[in-house]
Every structure is written in C-alpha cells, then in structure tokens.
Point group: C2
Chain length 707, copies 2
C-alpha cells in the first residue's frame, strides 16, 4: 500500500498550470481554501469512519468540502463513502486520524473520528495536506486539539461598524437577519472549521444590550443554525447592566435575587432558541463598562450570577481581566493581577478568566501577563489579538504567529523551581491555557478577529495569515511559526518555491520589524491621540494612564519604565524565578528592557553599543526590513496574480512611509532627552519634531464614532 | 448589407446555454455588464471612427470593453480598428452613431463620434444592443445626451460610512488612497460610463471640510485619474465654513475679500491637481449646515463667491435649494421657493440651483417642486434620489423609473397658457432641466447614489435597476420606464421571456405598491423617529416640521394638508394653470389629494368609495402587490441563479411583513380619527395601535452616528 503511485502527490505540481490560475481574478475571497487544480493524480476513495457510521449535517459538510476540494485540486471526482468504525479513545471528541488504506482493491484514505466534527476536521486536514504538496504515501496521522474552546472574538457592533476593524463592515447583516442568510456565513464557518475553530463570540465586548432582546436573539439563532454543521457554537458578549436596561429592574446588583432570576430567565430564553449556545463573554468595570463593582461587589460575584444562569445548560462565562482605572495610583500593568489574584477559587466552575497576552493592551511586544499561572484554581483563557490594533492596523504586514508563540512558549515558572533557579520549568503559558499544568477541566483560547465584509475578508491580502495562524495554534500550540507560514503561503499563493520562500521569509520577519520601527527594546504605548496607528511619544495631556509619557518615562538620565522594586515593582507579580530574571538588568531580555527598567542612555547593550545607539539602530532596522520586502515583492510580479500583487505592493509603500514616520518622530523626540547624535547607519529625519507633533490623523478606520 | 446573417443576432439565444450561466456564482458584482455567452454568431469587425482617428486612454477603454463584451457574448475575438472620419455636428460633444457597414468585404459596425468619449458611449450602446437581443441588421442609430452634466451624488462620509446608504461602506477607501487603487474604482467608472453618466460628487452634502485639505485632495485626484478615461469628472461637496475651519480666517462671509481670495486659492490648488475638476456642490443654511445667511448674506452671495473661484477653470457651483427652518412659521413645502424665487437673475452664469424633485424630501410621491420653471434666469439641476431613503431603504423593491418619469413628464406650465387653460403646455420638468424650454446654456441632473461596497454594489439584487434607470434617463428622458425595465432585466438576468416578463412586471408595479402601503393618496412624511423606514404617523414630539402630524393633519373631520388658499396656499407657488388644477378638489390628481387638501372622511372618490374606504384599500393593495411578487418569484426558481434568487426571496418576505406593518399601523391610527370600520377586503390588523406605537427601530443601516 505504501508507495502506491496513485496516492503520491509530489510538491510543486501547481507549476504545471500557472497560466490558468493567473487568468482568473484573485480577489482573496477564497482565503486559504483555494482548490485550483494541482495535479491530474487521482485518489481512489475517501472513507469517512465514525462509530455511528451515519450521515449528518456535519458529515454532509465534510462531503461538500471534499467534493469541492478534491474535485478542484485533482480535477476528478473522488468517491466518498461512510463506514462504521470502533471508537478510538486517543481521538477524544474532536480529533481525527488519516490513514492510507484500500477498499475493494482500490487505494483509499480513511478519515476516522469518534464524532462527525472530527471527520470534518480530518477532511480539511486531508485537503490541506494535498494542497501544500504533502505526500499521502503510508499516511497515518492522528491529531487532537490541545484546547477545548477555540474562539474568535468579534468586536462587531450591531450597527455593523467594527471597533478596531480594518476590513469593512461587520460580516453579520443584522438588519436583514434572520430572513436573509448571506452565503458568506457558510464560507466563514468553512474557514473557521478548516482551522479547527469551534466557537465565535459575535459581538463587541463593549457590549450592546440590545443583542439580548428577543428580536436580536432570533437573528443570533439564525447564524447559529448556519454555523452548527461546522462545529461552531455561538457566544455573545453580555452587558452587565442588562437587567436594568432591557429587564426593567432597578439594579443589576449580582447579589440581588431578582437580578439572578432575570439572568436565569434570559439564559433559558437563549437556550430555547440556541440549544448549543456557548455562553457569555463579559467586559465589566473597564473603560466605562458597567460591572459588579458599581454595587460594591467583586468580579467573582458578577461572573457567578451569569455562570449560575447558564450552568444548567452547559454554558460558560468568560470574564475579562482587562481592567484598569486611572484613579488607582498604581502601575496600570499591575491592576488586573491586583484585582483578580485575591479572587482565585471564588469563581463558579464554569467561569473562566480571560486574559490578554500581556498586561497592557496588545502592544507590538509585551511580557506575558502576570496572571498566567497565578490563578491555579481558575481556568484561564488566553486572549490574543488577530486584528492589528497597535500593529499597523489595515495597512502593515505583521504576521503574528511569532507573537503568539512567544507568549505561548514563555515559561511562567508558575509550577517552577525555587527562586533563583533559572532552569526552564515547563510552566509555559501554553500548558497553563491547555490545562495540563494546573489540571484545569475547562480550557479556552480567544482571538480578536480581523474579519470584515471586505471581499478578501481581512483587508490586507496577507492579513488572513493571522486568522490562519491563530486557528492553527489554537488547535496545536506546538506548531512552529515557520510551519504555519509555509502552510498558509502554499494554500494562498500556490507551491512555487520562488513564491513560497520569499513570502514566508517576509511573514516571519514582519512582526519584529514592526516592533523595531514602532516600539523596540520594550517600549510601548507610544501612539498619538485618537487612534492606535501613528506615533505620539510626546503626548501628555490625556488621563495619566493613556499618555505615552506615562509609559516611556524619558528624561535626561535615560529611558524606560522602572517596574523593579525601585519603581512600581510590577516584576513582583511574576513567579519568583521569572521576577528575578526580569528585575535584573543583566538578565532581563533586551527586547523587554525598557518595559522593566529605566535605563541610562549610555548603558552598554550586549552588542557593545549604547542604549541610545541601539535604539536608533532598531528603528532604522525596522525601516530597512520593510524596504527589503518591497524589493522582494518586485521579484514576485507575474508569479502571483496581479490583483493581489498590486494590492500588497501599494500597502508596502504605505508601510515603508509609516515606518519612516515612526522612526523619525520617535528618535527626534527621544533625542530631546538623550542629546546624542544619530549613529552611523541611521538616516536623518525628513522633518522637524514640530512637524511630526502637529500630524493629526482623523477619519481613521476601525474607530467608529471617535475622531 | 441588410440582412447579412453574420450581423443578425436574434433575441433569446441566451436560452441555448442556461446550464453554464447557472453554474457560476452570480454575486451581482458585474451589474448589468454581464457578458456571458449569448450566441456563436460572429461580428466581422468594429470600427471606431473619430475626426482625430487616434488612440487615447478613452479609446483604450472602449477597446477593452469591446474585447471583454464581444468576446464574452459572442465567444469569439472581434477585430477593433480605428479610422478617421468627418465631424458630425448632429452628434455634439458626446453623441455617437452606430452604423452597419463593410470593411474589406467583411461586415462591420462603425461607431462614429466627434470625440473619443462618444466612441466609448457607442461601444457600450453596441454591447447593450447585442446583450438585450437586438438586431444589428441595417443598424443606423444616433444618440446624443439631452442634458450636459449627468451626475451621481454620493452622500459618503470620509470615515466611509454613508448617510442613507444601505449597501455597506463607501466605495472610496480614503485611508489607503492615493497609494492603493482598488480595481473596483474602474468597474464603477465602467458602470457609470455604460449609462452615459459623466460626473460624480464624491462626498456627502453634509460636508466634511477635510476633503478640501491637501492630503485629501491628493486622494481625490487619484480617483479622478482612474475615472478620467471613462469621461467622468469629479466634483466635491464644499463646506461653506471652510475658510474658517481649514483656512484659519475669522469669517466665511462671502463678501469678505479674504474669503473670496481663500476660495480662489483653494480652487487653483484643486485644479492644479485635477485639471478637469467639475466644481462644487453646496448644502448651505439647511439642517444645521453653515451658509451665507450666517453673515446676513443671500444664497446668491454664497454661491457666487465659490462660482468666481472656479470660473477661470471652467468649474460650476451647484447650490442646493433644499432649505427649511422650523422657525419660519410657514408650510415647510413653501420655503425653498420663497427663498430662491427672489434670487433669480442674481447668480453668476456658472451657478446652478439644485432642486429635489418634490418640495419636501424624496417622499414616495410628491408633486413636482414649485421652483421648476420658476427661475427662468437660473439653470436648474434636478436632484433625484436613487438610494431608497423613504422607499424601503435596503430591503424593499421599489423601481424608481416611474417616479423619475412622473417628475420629468410633469407639465409645470412655466411657459404655458393663461390661467384656466388646462391643455398641456409642453413645459415639462424635463424640458426645463434639459434647458430647451428656458434656453439654458448649462444643464445638469443629479441622482443620490445607492452604491456601497457590498459585493453587488447596491445591497438589494434588484436595486441596481435604479442606478441604471437614473443613468439612462439622464441621457435620454424620453425613454419609457418599460424600455428601461426591459433593458435592465435582460442585461441582468438574461433574455429568457419566462424571466423578463415577470421581472419587468414586478419592477414596474413596485413604486406604486410602496406608495400604497406607506403613503397613498398624497400622504407624506409618516415615518417613526430615528430613521426613515417604518411608520410613526402618531409622532408629535419633535421639532414641528419633523412631526408626521404636521403633514397629515388627521382630525375628526378628515385627513390631509390644506395647501390651498384656505390653508398654507402652497399651491400659489405653481404656475397658474397647475395651481388651479391642484387647488380644485375635483381636478387635483387623486394620488396627490391629501398633499393639497384636507379631505372629509366621507368624501366621494372617483371610484364612488369614501376617502376612508379608498385609503384602506390602497394600503391593502400595497400589501397584496408584494404578495403577488412573492408568488411570481417562486416561478423563477431555477430560471435564475440560486444566489440572487434566494436573496430576493428573503427580501420580499421582509417587504411583505413591513408592508403589513405600515398598513396596520397607519390604518389603526387614522381610524382613531375616522371612527369608521375597515371596508371589506382589508385584513384586520395583527396587533393593537399601542403595539405599533412602541416599536422602536434602532441600529438601522444608513443612519451613521444617529440612533
């Protein structure tokens, strides 16, 4: 059975028909699920095997996908049949196994799973393997997700604007739901399921209470019905004051029995419409949102009242730890830990605390959030951002798999050795989030979506790589950034090595380049006012914890936020070995140096250069990297379709200009403190500091109602 | 040459390959420019003939379109060659002539024009003729536009929301302009040019001053560059207070020399970037917009200062007459006439006054605006609405060619016989707008666009018919609604008579049905608060001239607004014969009865029924019409593609429900005054009046920032 030629698909057969694939318009709509002809090789049969062995809407979805995918890729019809099979405990609820086999003397691939959703995931895995030029010879591949709930969080408003959305209007056409079901909903579900994503929070965490009213719940139910065959459960954000605003109560106090009753009744109403409703995501007492503290109650009190309401139906509550208050005279980075650490053990079992990767807010680089591992009795959801709020938004290339991996792979030492022993302990964020370290029964990961109704879904032709990377890592956090970049590039642009190698190189370098030209060496939160796009390191006229000067603390002596014991002592929130690593200037990773330390301008970096020179060269390097991609991109002209090529070329021009703008604005400003010249190799700024200070970007995408 | 079989394309050849056209996804993107294979017949050659006889970007656009169109429709390559020809005065600047001819013994079609844009229009006309199944036998067809400036008005904001837009975000991707030029811009230009539209006002009349600043003008220039080969000039809305807001002046007083200088400099700056810039559209002293009256100056003073600025460059100013003020204790319908009539003759020659079709605001039915014909020394622009602000917005079918025609064909008697002679005088709105009646040297027509970035451009699959209808009538107002509906349906859905006949019947009946279930017999402005979608006839708590009760004046005696001499005497603003017709209850058209008269509930209508019974039956008829379309639409399943079929089917369900809602809410409310039972044939309401009164629609499309 091995080496059966009919099952062998070698890489790069896409080269056989470049003319055809260039001839059709490539508008990006198909994402990575492009099924253009790869080869004439035929696959004898695909067998879908489950213990039930029966058809279902999910099996039908797998059949549809295989028919479209194999038909497109192989140019022939492959029979797909159903068989009963023994249960396989190793595969769990959602895993699958792909095996080369024979049926009736013919070669076949068996997709086995315990449940039909596993078959669907296996079907996508088979297609991915073919699409990326993998061999089916002797195929025997099992895969099981590491995290139970793999969610997109949509910050979509009910008027179809999207907070921090850079790809058009919301996908959800609320006004014509439930009557009209855009065919796009199914394609959204296909794209999610192809990655193994199994849940979607449809609405913004800055929640609109209306979504909890009957007419809107019927709309939500219609979406849930479309997504269900693809294994995707719907969740909603819940506004904490809903019992007042739509319930007519006088209070939303979570300890008030009428409030508890209201939430129970609301949950019952929801589950009557959506039996597999996932649960609620809540942003409370943060940035003006209502919450339990309005009534002198704790986050645990607030989360528990909702948790009790959904518990009888198997629902969960994801309670966000993104809280900060300008009136608390502490380091903003410390506040979430200070508020949530004492609550460990006080949440219901179906409450999860949802924590952003870092303690501030989706900066180009942050250390991991100190809450990871610090709540051993509370399941923790890792919240990553797919949309590029602080990472060049809709115009910059910033492939985020390296950012996600950096967080997931960070050793928190939560179950680690005693203070001072800096051997790795295996207490990675990944093992906390997947529940293996602290034996959590409930596990989840969330990505803030970058989708919109732009034809190509994500606005930037390369931005879909981030949706892809999040989904793949949510399934298996052991995948490397390189593997993911390679897969996505092959599926999106084909297997031509003259395309795959340079595109993956660009992707893999891009996040670090953005860090370099925006906020190198641990700098953070340097944006100008009114958006999170361009630089404004000089801004000091907002509420204190929104001012860039609060974060960089530049002065004549040096640069950076002292978060050691001589400063805010935020380092103390980390487990002792990690705290010690960060607190010591000589062991603190240089890429986080200015996050934790106020460092003299002449401090000697590992390179032997001064901090100032190193800072300048990082900014320059960021610009140089973008220029390098522009040069690379020129070599791809004609090797990928003109439509996507031209779009990326234009966006790279914008990115290069913006990178220079960041470099020049930041260096001119910091130079007013350092009083040092730019080192050799750093280009002189194009304008004066005054010029950059008066740039006022308005009518920005992703900023609905705020100018 | 006649009857040359190679030039004969009979109707309905589309039937030959239905399977193929059903096989591909029909997402509406191609609009009416679908070039699916019609027939195997070949066309020998197409000759493009101008006096210059030379190539140009516009000739290239014509060649591209013919290559795509003839290649698609005929499935073969047709040579397209260029020839010099004598000028033809009859064709003017933009007209064309299509003639059957021979070249080198081969049959050919000659597209002759004096300028290359005429060739482009001729190319589209040839394709339309083939696409709609017309014969090319003995072809000899000349066409010249009746109106010089044929414009779309986009109410698009710089943040990409669209006021009264129901098809997604703005097409203009301001943030990435001028770097990235979406391929869609060219398709927009193709669609406009295919109809003969030659101008576009890119920005909302509620104007954002930023568009007049240098960075935004560079973005505008990039769009102008894309549109130019298609004969389309760009215009901008101008905020009257711009000299203060971006000019730094203390005043925007139009008689202040510094203000005049500022506008001149701004115009020079614009024309340096966009040499063929069309000019400005201004909404001033209306609904909170700044204007010359802020300085005690007249609309003429305001318009003239802008006109002087653009005059050296050949630009024009379109000054909107849509003005009304709650503090003027007059009938809102009278105010524009009262303000503008005294200004006739006081405008610069390059100022046009832009007037909505009716005196209120794009209601389902209005009488013509009394200003038409009343400013004999001032060129008048007719402003029609393509977007369906008060006509069911994004969900209702309402084909507006009959509305446009009703206005264009109305005899204003502006140059008519003496009072009392009711023979038609030929003083139609069409002849006023095309300049022929009052010998205007400058003519224009404007349609408020219904486009957005929805994949199908207009949101509702049948709404593109309104863009089409506006464009075709702007070119030739003698076309009938029937001709236009037939053309659009054939180009959009193919020539199958089992599709064409029912779809055109639906289109042609639709506007009257919407009038019937919303505002029959001259009722108007009955919307609930916060949107212009659902009914709220009872609303009386807004500023007076926004309240429905201001307009319908229902009481125990009857219904309607007395605008005769016993009331507001708005009728007196019309030319005497028309005023007399409207003022007399017996000659006033019944479909405008309640616009002009307060009519007793038991008044006998032409049908012999009482007003009350007639009113009820109109509402019922509107509902019945929509139900009829639902039945019709079922017969089309499988005859048109599933994607568009399903979308329309869903929207018809919404429309039927909303029609019932309008009927029930309005009749229940008016019944509180009439105290009469519903006549036989009218369905009883589904709910109580209180139910309808508490419906509060929010998060509505097309209402950016207003909930």
């Amino acid at each position: 059975m091995n080496r059966n030629p009919i099952l062998t698909l070698v890489r790069l057969l896409a080269l056989a028909i470049p003319a055809l694939s260039l001839a059709r318009a490539e508008d990006g709509y198909r994402l990575w699920l492009r099924y253009d002809r790869l080869t004439d090789a035929a696959l004898g049969r695909v067998v879908l095997a489950t213990p039930a062995g029966t058809d279902s809407p999910t099996i039908a979805a797998a059949r549809d996908e295989l028919a479209a995918g194999l038909g497109g890729l192989l140019g022939s019809t492959t029979p797909v049949t159903l068989e009963p099979t023994a249960a396989d405990a190793a595969l769990g609820d959602e895993g699958y196994r792909l095996t080369a086999a024979t049926r009736g003397g013919q070669p076949a691939v068996v997709i086995a799973a315990n449940h039909d959703v596993g078959v669907l995931y296996g079907a996508f895995a088979l297609l991915r393997r073919i699409q990326t030029g993998g061999s089916l010879d002797g195929l025997n591949l099992a895969s099981v997700p590491r995290i139970q709930r793999r969610l997109l969080n949509h910050w979509d408003n009910l008027d179809r604007t999207i907070e921090r959305g850079y790809a058009g209007f919301s996908l959800w056409e609320w006004f014509v739901l439930p009557d009209y079901l855009d065919p796009r909903y199914r394609d959204y579900a296909r794209a999610c399921a192809s990655l193994g994503l199994n849940g979607t929070v449809l609405t913004n965490v800055n929640a609109d209470v209306l979504v909890l009213t009957a007419p809107w719940l019927r709309k939500v139910a219609a979406l849930a019905d479309v997504f269900r065959p693809y294994g995707i459960r719907v969740y909603l954000s819940a506004r904490f004051s809903a019992p007042i605003e739509v319930g007519g109560l006088k209070t939303a106090d979570p300890l008030d029995p009428a409030v508890a009753r209201w939430w129970k009744d609301k949950a019952d109403e929801i589950y009557a419409l959506i039996p597999d409703f996932g649960g609620f995501l809540v942003k409370a007492n943060s940035e003006g949102q209502p919450g339990p503290q309005d009534y002198g109650r704790s986050h645990a009190d607030g989360a528990n009242v909702l948790a009790d309401a959904v518990a009888p139906h198997g629902g969960i509550v994801m309670w966000r730890a993104f809280v900060y208050d300008q009136h608390i005279p502490s380091d903003r980075a410390k506040q979430a830990y200070d508020e949530f650490k004492p609550l460990d053990g006080k949440f219901r079992p179906n409450v999860m605390v949802q924590i952003k990767n870092g303690p501030i807010d989706f900066q180009p680089r942050e250390p991991v959030h100190p809450l990871f591992g610090a709540l051993p009795h509370t399941p923790e959801v890792l919240e990553l951002q797919i949309t590029q709020e602080y990472l060049g938004q809709g115009t910059d290339l910033a492939f985020l798999a390296p950012l996600y991996k950096e967080c997931l792979d960070t050793d928190t030492f939560a179950a680690g050795p005693a203070r001072g022993e800096l051997v790795e302990s295996g207490s990675t964020v990944a093992r906390i989030v997947d529940g293996s370290l602290q034996h959590q029964g409930l596990t989840a990961i969330a990505g803030v979506a970058n989708t919109g109704d732009d034809r190509d879904w994500c606005g930037h032709p390369l931005a879909a790589a981030n949706w892809y990377a999040f989904g793949r890592l949510a399934w298996d956090h052991d995948l490397t950034s390189e593997q993911i970049a390679d897969e996505w590039t092959r599926m999106t642009f084909g297997n031509d090595p003259r395309v795959v190698a340079p595109v993956t190189a660009m992707l893999l370098a891009s996040r670090e380049a953005v860090v370099d030209y925006m906020t190198p060496l641990g700098l953070h939160h340097l944006m100008a006012t009114g958006h999170h796009y361009g630089p404004g390191a000089w801004v000091d006229n907002l509420r204190p914890d929104w001012n860039p000067v609060y974060y960089h603390r530049a002065d004549a002596a040096g640069l950076g936020f002292d978060r050691t014991a001589t400063g805010s002592n935020a380092v103390a929130q980390y487990a002792a070995p990690l705290a010690a690593r960060y607190a010591d200037l000589s062991t603190c990773p240089e890429n986080l140096l200015l996050w934790f330390h106020h460092v003299p301008w002449d401090y000697r970096m590992h390179s032997g250069r001064t901090l100032w020179d190193e800072l300048c060269l990082h900014y320059q390097h960021g610009v140089d990297a973008v220029r390098g991609w522009e040069t690379t991109w020129v070599t791809l002209k004609g090797r990928i379709d003109d439509e996507r090529w031209s779009h990326v070329a234009a966006l790279l021009r914008i990115q290069e200009r913006d990178a220079r703008h960041w470099r020049d604005a930041c260096l001119l400003y910091f130079q007013t403190f350092s009083h040092r010249p730019l080192p050799a190799g750093v280009e002189p700024p194009a304008h004066s500091l005054e010029y950059y200070e008066q740039v006022h970007l308005v009518r920005m995408p992703g900023n609905p109602g705020k100018d």
